[in-house]
């Protein structure tokens, strides 16, 4: 619940007991049913927003929402933060399947097709968006294309969030890795990466980089992407993993752990802690922990993840706004919702302070964003972001990532060879492919 939102008293005086009982009966089983059909108490257009930002970016979102509420007294705006991952998507899917969803929600772009757009989402009216001054031309073409399903727009991208490299400036300075501008010198190739990491380990005495070994999907998908490895064949329905490339990426991960450059075992909390307490001078992770490290008052910078193989590429995703399905969508509420979405896009420089790269190009190219340090230093990767494979079981927090985590963490722990880990992952992915899709249309 948004802390700034104060409950708005109903306009009428206290209703009689009889009226309340009659209203509850008419609405089915109680208040929720009784109120859903007739908008908010206040008679103002209502925008209920559900999001999954519980970390550092969540704190920023609340500040941005406070400003929105202050500037839009004519709207009844209510924001709710739910637990990230399966709990969020479960609740959203159920509310939309029942046709009683909130007006707007956040959704990872990689999950759009797996979320069954034609049954769970309502298309976004382009004319309303254009009336607020937001059009296709304001986004990167490939991002916009991914938001279309059957030619209709189902999601408005807010940002991109790539896998990046954090570096502790004090440690890296001692290791001689910083340029005269104080930024880390870019490295290219496997040998240069290992050499850089050795230098960092010499300074920390423990590790070079902190990584999440319990779910190394993002690191593997980054490396495999740099080798230009495919996931599906052209038909998009058959598994087409390139064994040699997949194993090469896994072997590098294994080598880094065996040489003691990364931990053999670290979950997400340990990944953050190892970097904050200086046990590692580098950290490979999504860019969303900026606020955490700033709050820890530690000296750090951020850079694109190094190009280790053939092409620059990094795993990533995008947060989007979607309109979950409502049985009786009110035109006034929808219009207010589009106002909110457009306002958020235009104010996404504040959002970018939390690490995310704005998807809305006028902001991404604006002076306010470019002045953000260290957030603007990795903005070039926006076009190099590689989304998860396009399938119903794929995307942030979806089953494919779980299966990859289970298989690939064994490589770090020394429990499995890269070959064994790959075979296990391929079997799991094939099982998901063979499972009849529970969402509308094959994807």
């Amino acid at each position: 619940m948004h802390p700034a939102r104060k409950p708005i008293p109903p306009r009428t005086t206290r209703p009689s007991r009889r009226a309340v009982i009659a209203g509850a009966l008419a609405g089915g089983l109680g208040l929720a049913g009784g109120l859903s059909g007739c908008g908010s108490f206040s008679g103002r257009p209502r925008v209920r927003e559900w999001n999954l930002f519980g970390g550092g970016d969540g704190a920023r979102l609340l500040q941005i929402h406070e400003q929105f509420v202050a500037e839009h007294k004519d709207l009844d705006f209510q924001a709710h933060t739910l637990a990230w991952g399966p709990p969020f998507y479960t609740k959203l899917a159920m509310s939309a399947a029942g046709g009683r969803a909130p007006e707007v929600a956040t959704l990872h772009l990689s999950r759009l097709k797996g979320f069954s757009p034609t049954t769970l989402l309502d298309p976004i009216p382009l004319d309303l968006l254009a009336a607020e001054g937001v059009t296709e031309a304001d986004f990167l073409p490939e991002t916009w294309q991914r938001c279309l399903v059957d030619g209709q727009l189902y999601a408005v991208p807010l940002d991109q969030h790539p896998f990046v490299m954090y570096y502790n400036t004090e440690i890296c300075k001692k290791a001689g890795l910083l340029g005269p501008d104080g930024l880390i010198k870019p490295v290219k190739g496997v040998d240069a990466l290992v050499e850089m990491m050795r230098a960092v380990k010499d300074v920390t005495g423990k590790f070079a980089a902190s990584v999440e070994t319990t779910n190394p999907w993002r690191l593997w998908w980054t490396l495999y992407g740099q080798l230009e490895g495919p996931f599906f064949d052209e038909s998009g329905t058959r598994l087409a993993l390139d064994d040699d490339k997949a194993i090469e990426a896994l072997q590098l991960m294994s080598k880094l752990a065996t040489d003691g450059l990364t931990p053999r075992s670290a979950d997400y909390a340990a990944l953050v802690a190892t970097f904050t307490n200086g046990d590692a001078g580098l950290s490979f992770n999504g860019e969303w922990e900026v606020t955490t490290y700033q709050a820890a008052k530690m000296p750090f910078g951020m850079a694109p993840f190094p190009q280790v193989y053939d092409v620059p590429r990094c795993a990533g995703d995008a947060h989007t706004f979607v309109l979950p399905h409502q049985n009786g969508r009110s035109a006034a509420d929808t219009k207010a919702t589009i106002t909110y979405i457009a306002w958020m896009l235009k104010h996404s420089a504040a959002w970018a302070a939390g690490g995310h790269i704005p998807a809305y190009q006028p902001v991404a190219k604006g002076a306010e964003y470019l002045a953000l340090q260290p957030q603007a230093n990795y903005r070039s990767v926006a076009t190099e972001v590689q989304f998860d494979p396009d399938a119903w079981f794929s995307g942030s927090g979806a089953q494919l990532q779980n299966d990859a985590g289970a298989a690939f963490s064994g490589v770090y722990a020394g429990r499995a060879t890269p070959r064994q880990a790959l075979d296990q992952f391929k079997a799991a992915a094939q099982k998901l492919l063979d499972t009849p899709s529970p969402v509308s249309g094959r994807s």
Partner: protein, 308 residues
């Protein structure tokens, strides 16, 4: 006298049988519960079975009748049997210590004065913590590199153990956490039973020359056998329902080695939107619990016969 008789018989003629309140009063009083029971337990139970014959999806897609297809898939799905095995392993690993340690604690804490109060307080304190707090504490305790347990091992010159990320060991780590967290409840049941044993029995035994050991084996334990039975039943059911601490501590890992059946049901139904399939697995697990309960019941009624 006569007048009363007449009026009574008249009343009888008028109403035929007991008055309305007597005939329907009980049902009326039970109605709120019955309605809730039917609406939130009976109906979902039946509709769950119904759903298991369809490809019901959380995504609101048109569903089709599949017959026994979900059931057939379940019997051929190794993940179902692996996670069921994990649940049973957890139950077998956690139940004995949760009963035995609770008994030992109760024996230690059953004393007067400050020490008794302090022991009772500290044994029961962890039980009041929520699962999220308990798992947060223990995940940090188990961490390699900077965790408490590994710190102690290290200062004793022993090698670090990666508790939560090694297959086999992760389940042990969860069991240790669970015992620490929940043993207080069983402890409380035992303590109540201990305090219910009359002092005279011990006095009589002392006069007959029984020492402390005799008293424990011949008096205390036999008199608490009913409590032990209750605790074992409650504990087995609680352990079979394991979900939260595993979900929060290991998320079923490493490599699914700790994933309990309820987590697999959750993943099938909610992460992968396959409600129909998840319903089939739920029903299979329901059957397992029923079988365990029946076995338990038989075992205990057998004990009673022997006791006579």
């Amino acid at each position: 006298m006569a007048v009363t008789t007449i009026s009574r018989s008249r009343a009888k003629v008028r109403t035929e049988g007991p008055p309305f309140s007597e005939r329907w009063g009980g049902l009326l009083f039970a109605a709120p519960f019955l309605i809730l029971f039917a609406f939130f337990l009976l109906w979902p139970t039946v509709s769950g079975l119904w759903n298991s014959f369809f490809d019901t999806s959380l995504a609101g897609v048109q569903r089709e009748f599949l017959g026994l297809q979900n059931w057939r898939e379940m019997f051929n799905d190794p993940a179902v049997w692996a996670s069921l095995k994990n649940t049973l392993v957890f139950t077998l690993m956690s139940t004995p210590p949760l009963v035995v340690i609770a008994l030992v604690m109760a024996l230690l804490a059953n004393r007067k004065g400050f020490l008794g109060w302090f022991l009772r307080f500290s044994y029961f304190a962890p039980f009041v913590l929520p699962a999220t707090v308990v798992t947060l504490i223990w995940v940090w305790i188990y961490q390699p590199g900077f965790g408490l347990v590994n710190g102690i091992l290290g200062s004793a010159g022993l090698a670090e153990i990666d508790w939560l990320n090694t297959e086999n060991r992760a389940m042990l780590a969860v069991v240790i956490t669970t015992v620490w967290w929940t043993v207080g409840f069983n402890f409380l049941l035992y303590l109540a039973a201990l305090q219910g044993i009359p002092e005279q029995v011990y006095e009589a035994a002392a006069i007959d020359g029984a020492n402390g050991w005799h008293k424990l084996w011949r008096i205390t334990l036999p008199l608490m056998s009913r409590t032990t039975g209750l605790i074992v039943v409650l504990q087995l059911v609680a352990s079979l329902k394991i979900f939260d601490q595993i979900y929060l501590m290991t998320d079923g890992g490493p490599n699914f080695s700790t994933r309990p059946i309820i987590q697999y049901i959750y993943e099938s139904g909610f992460t992968s939107y396959r409600i129909g399939y998840a319903s089939a697995i739920s029903y299979m697990f329901f059957a397992v619990i029923v079988i365990v309960s029946i076995a338990q019941f038989k075992l205990f009624s057998g004990n009673k016969e022997a006791g006579r």
